[in-house]
Symmetry: C2
Subunit: 339 residues, 2 copies
């Protein structure tokens, strides 16, 4: 059997309380005793049982993170930011992938709750779970912060990039390049898509450039198929479309559009301009290099981690919001409209 605190206490001829105090250092112990205990701990290679410890303390040093997909590099970069912070603070990360499925997302969260995690970060929560009080109930019980979802629930903290501004940046850029017929490509079940769509519709309607048929939804599905799904969809639509530009809600979709163009022998940007969103590493490798809206993914993650940490360490559970600026990175996929 594994050595426990009892074994240590016995061998050191002290009470288990004393051993516990030596380990935790939260109560004075005479130096001589301390050293004796420490020696026994070393000799027995004793390691405190985290499970027992956290069970007793009625909390855990685990932080739960839910992402819709592990496949889109966007989430990896965000995780990178989250990770850094918590490893330093000696929390462990529990990662759960919702695959864009609201039920699975709830399951993850409930699982985290049952485990008494100290806090939860949800990246791009599923719209269905945002529409009811599910997350409000969670937020009342435990520190919770959203990444890239905002305004749905006033009392839930978030850090988000300003997706409305970002979308406008992209669309206006296309407009400045004289494009009028701009395809809008989105997926399912994410706030991010809704916000961008709203911005798109708003701008286009205001200028009377809006056409229902320009709105393309590639549906959901595992995001490791995003590129191909988008390509398929675009392959159907593009030949009969008078669009001269595309705004894709993320770079993976933009990549799909690029691939479709290559199949159809459509020149980018001469015949079709494309702007993406996220600026994942991939976008620099796409040929032509993708013009895209950059969001600082690492910062998104690390700010969220910091926010959560603050919440965990204080009892003031008022909600905080952090909105990150984003910028357009101009590369090669946009040209002036030739029509």
């Amino acid at each position: 059997m594994k050595t426990t605190i009892v074994d240590v206490a016995k061998k050191a001829k002290v009470s288990i309380a004393t051993v516990s105090r030596v380990i935790n250092g939260n109560y004075p112990v005479k130096e001589a005793t301390r050293e004796k205990v420490l020696a026994v701990i070393r000799s027995l290679k004793y390691v405190p049982n985290m499970q027992a410890r956290e069970f007793n303390r009625q909390k855990s040093t685990i932080v739960g993170v839910v992402v819709p997909s592990i496949y889109n590099m966007f989430f990896a970069e965000v995780m990178n930011g989250v990770e850094e912070h918590f490893t330093n603070e000696s929390y462990s990360l529990m990662l759960c992938c919702s695959k864009n499925d609201s039920k699975l997302e709830m399951r993850c969260i409930n699982d985290f709750m049952a485990r008494n995690v100290s806090g939860i970060i949800v990246v791009s929560p599923h719209t269905e779970n945002l529409q009811n009080t599910f997350y409000e109930r969670i937020a009342r019980q435990i520190p919770l912060v959203f990444i890239n979802s905002y305004e749905k629930h006033p009392n839930i903290s978030y850090v988000s990039n300003d997706q409305d501004a970002g979308a406008r940046l992209a669309i206006n850029y296309l407009l400045e390049h004289k494009h009028r017929d701009i395809l809008f490509i989105r997926g399912e079940h994410s706030d991010s898509y809704d916000i961008k769509e709203q911005a798109y519709v708003d701008i286009m309607k205001r200028r009377h450039y809006f056409h229902e048929k320009h709105m393309i939804n590639i549906g959901d599905g595992n995001s490791n198929e995003t590129v191909d799904n988008t390509m398929q969809k675009v392959l159907e639509i593009l030949p009969s479309s008078e669009a001269t530009a595309v705004f894709a809600c993320n770079d993976l979709m933009a990549a799909g559009v690029v691939n479709a163009c290559k199949k159809l022998n459509i020149a980018i940007p001469e015949e079709l301009s494309i702007v993406g969103y996220d600026n994942i590493a991939l976008s620099r490798f796409i040929e032509p290099k993708l013009t895209t809206v950059e969001q600082n993914m690492f910062l998104l993650g690390s700010q969220a981690a910091q926010l959560l940490l603050e919440k965990i360490n204080s009892d003031n559970q008022s909600s905080k919001r952090i909105m990150l600026e984003n910028s357009l990175v101009e590369r090669e996929s946009v040209g002036v409209c030739s029509r």
Copy 2:
């Protein structure tokens, strides 16, 4: 306070043992009682406390996964495979990123141990930790499986792609294209690099093509800098090198070489041929499209998960090895040597 099994027992006027039995269904309970208890559970919104439960059972339904980096899509794809399996089996995944740091890797593992995880998967374990008995000690205590590390410890299970064969595939392919001066590019602290290097050295020496100066090590460092680090290094070396081809140990490094070539105005594959390793999604987007050794990353992950699951569910702790075949995917980055 949260409702506990005691609250349920009280309200249902039964003992906590009965409630426990209803929850676990591992002992007969009269239907009427069962329903009464279930009703109370629902009315109280009782959720069993996982911490208490797993603490009592002296195990957890957590599986720990260590990866060197979350940034290289290779690991994301592997995780995808791992993930699928465990979510179905209702295990939770604890993810830890070692950043190629042996100390950090040990810390992760020890943390997992203290948490009584049911098993551990280590993707590309750090060579330093492989050189001593650290992992053997772990494997004796808990189900452990390596991904992409093999032969170091005969009694540790692994699933790996055949990196020796893979490397030979790549190098021989280059040789068939008449290349003699082949740069070998690797990073630090991974078995995978060592194995590939060995294959490279073996083949090249046998043919008397071997030159020490063709061996390039880009050092370690966070792998989100792999591309740029490689580019820097290659930028220094390439101008004064007579190499006509490059074998890079992974696609990220290959991407770095491609970027360097673009800066130096070296045509691929006319002036320099490149073959990578992994076949991550990125490699299809690199221009020219990268010729690379494909390993089935998803399978790597899911097989490892399956192996671990078997180990967890049986007491036979004998080690199993699974070696996955890989193949060369020919794209556009290799041409016949013109010199």
